[in-house]
Point group: C2
Chain length 235, copies 2
């Protein structure tokens, strides 16, 4: 009754994205029966204060809540931690300093997925929360790998991306498609060779419509982090 350690999943940010992460982690696993799958523990705490509000508007600090989840996952016997929320990675260094467990970084997972999809360098678009953009979570890590990053302008964030994310958090995924697809299409028009969906709500909205019509490789950061988790587990 021992064996491989659990993958710890710090979630609830939002809860739909972390449930989808568990679903995709399962579907992406080569498996013939239950026992071939990865043991995983999902700490889904949707009460964790909003990450973008904390960074941009003086909202409540999420770090104590994040550290509580990490301590809980560590106490339960996890061997690594995945966090299916891009914006929460703004607190990555503080979280990693608080635990000996490796925390798989979602931006590295996204970069590995760009390469897997054949986009090895050049200009890529990034759709993300205002918090993730303000913290520049993606730029240093992607630029170190030879990419340049373009992002929506302030009006596009206000009119397209932020409302699209909010619709997913309110369970209105079908309505989220149009504004998010429009934002991706504008990045394509500005020369992006691929678009990273750098907020885990965004793929849920994009998949609710005819996303193939956007006509670009899209990096789903839920899938990218699930694939990184399977690599950690040797699957």
């Amino acid at each position: 009754m021992s064996g491989a350690p659990f993958l710890g999943v710090l979630g609830g940010m939002g809860p739909l994205a972390s449930a989808q992460f568990m679903l995709r982690l399962t579907l992406l696993t080569p498996a013939e029966r239950d026992q071939d799958h990865l043991p995983a523990l999902l700490w889904s705490d949707p009460r964790i204060p909003d990450r973008t509000a904390a960074r941009l508007a003086g909202g409540e600090d999420p770090l104590p809540w994040l550290l509580r989840g990490i301590a809980g996952l560590e106490a339960a016997g996890c061997g690594a931690i995945a966090i299916p929320c891009n914006t929460a990675h703004g607190w990555y260094e503080a979280m990693q300093a608080a635990t000996p467990l490796p925390i798989l970084h979602i931006v590295d997972a996204a970069a590995e997925d760009l390469a897997r999809q054949g986009v090895a360098s050049g200009r890529v678009g990034l759709l993300a929360t205002a918090g993730t953009l303000a913290m520049r979570l993606y730029q240093p890590r992607l630029e170190a790998r030879g990419y340049s990053v373009i992002t929506p302008d302030e009006a596009e964030m206000r009119e397209l991306v932020s409302p699209g994310i909010a619709l997913v958090k309110a369970n209105r995924v079908a309505e989220a498609y149009a504004p998010l697809a429009e934002a991706a299409t504008r990045l394509k028009a500005r020369g992006a060779a691929a678009v990273v969906l750098g907020c885990t709500e965004i793929p849920l909205g994009i998949q609710a419509g005819p996303s193939a019509e956007i006509g670009l490789p899209l990096v789903d950061t839920i899938d990218a982090l699930a694939l990184a988790s399977l690599r950690w587990a040797g699957k």
Copy 2:
């Protein structure tokens, strides 16, 4: 940073069903933002020995694994436990005896969903694992509420239901539809006014095809248990 206790979810049986439970729990919650959702902790351990094999074929006893999960959920501060696996409820009394936390019974949740769908009494069909049928998990609880229960015969279990469940556990949900829908249709022909999908893999297969064509109320035990969990949380 305190507040409502977590819902504990003892899962991994199978992992796709427990991920789907988390997704449905989220989508069935009236919510406008992350913070309106239920905090939940999913203990997904797909290594828990097969419940049907344990009951019918002398396979390894899952009870120590189930109790380890319950102890982990209790230690992490959960306030109640939901188990999105029907067959595991064959060990319900031993699990409930081991914890002061209430364990929401999936058969009671299914009965409440029959009533919600307007089926208040009479003959209902049950699709489930051979283990659940052998343990008669449904009959006493449904008969006490005025239902009579009909089930597939041995050939239907061998040729339709058991293969359908195995296909879902191997991530082959689309192929699972035909045999499972055929089994449901045969119960309808024998007079069932509704069919309880009494194994959490079965709704995943049934939803992969045109299930409305079956032409009967279907009780999805994943949704039924999610609704019971939301009632527990006062949502």
